[in-house]
Amino acid sequence: MSTQVSIQLYEIVGSPLCIASDDGQKVHDQIAAALRKELTVTLSFLNVEGLTSAFLNAAVGQLYGEFSAEQIRANLSVSDMQPDDLVLLKKVVETAKDYFKDPSRFKKAQQEVLGDNDAE
């Protein structure tokens, strides 16, 4: 079994425009499922033509509520990203790290994950 998985944003969203938070949630769910199985994930932005912070907050920023920065750094990478989109993603990541420094937010996010997993 492969320990690596490539997630194509274009395929999951079904459009080159990655705008809505709901679409970001679908991407997040794929990444989080793979990270929980300790797989290495490459997130491909091939054919993506528009991004928002709302989409990236849901897709990537949210991961910092469940996984440590070390886990994410070791197991998640990006490919085919346009240079200015990298700038946006970096800002989203830094914002997420700050956001989850608040223990109440981190705890709440953890509880939601546990609740979701219990329901599965």
Partner: protein
Amino acid sequence: MEISLSNVKSDFEGFNQLIALLQKTKDCAFGEIEVDLAGVTWFEANMCAPFGAILYKVSRELNSVRVTNVHGKLENILLRNGFLSNYGRAVIPDRQGTTIKYKRLETKDARFFGSHIDDLLTKSGIPKMSTGLFKKFRESIFEIFSNAVIHSETKLGIFSCGQVFPNKHRLDFSIADLGMGIRQNVRQNADLDLTAEEAINWALEGKNTTKKGPIPGGLGLKLLREFIELNKGRIQIVSDKGYWDFSNGESQTRGFLHPFPGTVVNIEINTADERSYCLASEINPKNIF
């Protein structure tokens, strides 16, 4: 009931007139409201977004709304951008490609909105922009739309419209919602009791966010301000009784007597801007997380 408007620009007075229109009709239900534009010689078409939002709210009280005495150039623009087709006039095609369509979209229509923006930015009458500016402008519009979807909790849709000023190298684009407004959002989710102007300022400062759940937030408006400052453009935010205006690196706030029933964000961009907007060499993809 008949209400007359005078000229409507993207400024404090322009928004104030639209708020006054709502105030005058707030107790009307099952009535006939005639909005008379006979005295209007100048109406900045992006203001169709907040104007349409207010008329939509009025008509939701089962009032019949008519927009009358629209003549000359103004009639031509408001017909071609599709605004008057909501008030009993036939749609006419925009053969010159110089108007930006008035739209009311549902909050789930993000992708349709994206395609609409892409279509309009490739129209012949829209000023040519550099690739970098085109991308930043488009993303800014998407950020405003996403912000409205996430924060307003509106059930009445999102209203958008724009106006091009080719000779001044300006493009104005407004997005309005009929949701809870920034002040209410800050009060409800950040437990802060601020005036409407203070709440807008708060939302634009540092790491402030009203998000509490598992998805972080708080970047959208700040990214918008960062871009507009570089572009030497302008942003106006109207929410509840607050008016916030940012241009030339400085912001100003004012208060209205009565509230706008949601939030409007208007951006004005300098279409002649040749800046690349690419800061890329500073970011290594291996050092993102």
